[in-house]
Amino acid sequence: MVGLVLISHSLTLAREVAELTRALAPVPAPVAPVGGNPDGGYGTDPDRVREAVRAVDRGDGVVLLADLGSSVLTAKLLVEELGDPSVVLADAPLVEGAVAASVMAGAGAPLAEVVAAAEQARAGKL
């Protein structure tokens, strides 16, 4: 199953989004929430993002979802550094993307479909 890493400036927010994915998906995907800078304030800690990718990797790929600013840049840089096509940053809003990706991953879909589900989640709300 594809794993998800949820990166927010706030660990509380990332954890709550992870809870929401568990509540809204019949079969929840492996999810790791990450948030906060190395001192615990709002921001991003790249070491923890790297650990989170390892923690949810079940061999079928990992999708990263980030909120904004340093979360996005950190995720983008890590994906570049890893150079592993099975680790992908989705161009998607954090909450909607996480729920869509979790539902799709839980259904056993491959990486590309999970990424597509997350990226389509931004559209069609109204």
Binding site: N37, G41, G43, T44, D45, L68, G69, T74, K76
Partner: protein, 212 residues
């Protein structure tokens, strides 16, 4: 310019960023999230600690270590941006033990490309690119004219400073400030300002180096 020169530059950056921490944070409070000074200070303090434990043998390895430290310690958007800039500079310098001005100019150009690629910003978007890009151009021109390193780096620092001031009239198109739209006009960009400080530190170290 050898490893000691570049170590002196990083040390001067750490000193200046610490000294200007509150100023950078104040600039960031106007249009960003008020953490730029604190974040960079944490990053450069991390570099100081890393170099105290171990100073790599070449300028390239030194800048690569400094870049990785910034990526890991800063915690804000400036971490990946400045971190990859320094790492790419380090990579461009390779294994050489001493660096000439032309190599430094090329390395700074790769730093600019790294920042533009990761952040997706162009000149005029009110970001650090608006200080770094004119500094690279000034340095390239100085290399072509064959002037002394301290004068060349002085021109680069002046160009970065002017570039940072020029961001005042710009509307932000990247980062947290871009949410403000036209309301971001009238404020100097904190990232462009810290870039100008870092390049002024390079000039100051080059001047001191030439005198000693």
């Amino acid at each position: 310019m050898d490893t000691r020169f570049f170590a002196a530059w990083l040390e001067e950056c750490a000193r200046v960023v610490h000294e200007q921490r509150d100023y950078l944070t104040r600039l960031d409070a106007a249009i960003g999230d008020a953490d730029h000074g604190t974040n960079l200070d944490r990053g450069f303090t991390g570099i100081r600690q890393a170099l105290a434990e171990h100073t790599p043998p070449t300028p390239g390895a030194l800048l690569a270590l400094a870049g990785t430290t910034l990526v890991r310690k800063v915690g804000g958007a400036s971490g990946p941006l400045y971190g990859s800039a320094l790492r790419q500079m380090g990579k461009a310098l390779g294994d050489a033990e001493t660096i000439g001005l032309a190599e430094l100019a090329d390395a700074l150009e790769t730093a600019l490309q790294a920042v533009r690629r990761l952040g997706g910003a162009e000149v005029g978007d009110k970001t650090m690119v608006d200080a770094l890009s004119p500094a690279c151009a000034a340095l390239r021109l100085a290399v072509a004219e064959g002037i002394k390193p301290q004068e060349a780096l002085s021109r680069a620092a002046d160009a970065a400073d002017q570039g940072a001031k020029d961001t005042i009239s710009m509307q932000a198109r990247k980062g947290r400030a871009s949410y403000l739209g036209p309301r971001s006009i009238g404020h100097q960009d904190p990232g462009a300002t810290s870039t100008a400080l870092i390049l002024a530190a390079l000039r100051d170290v080059a001047v001191a180096w030439a005198e000693s």
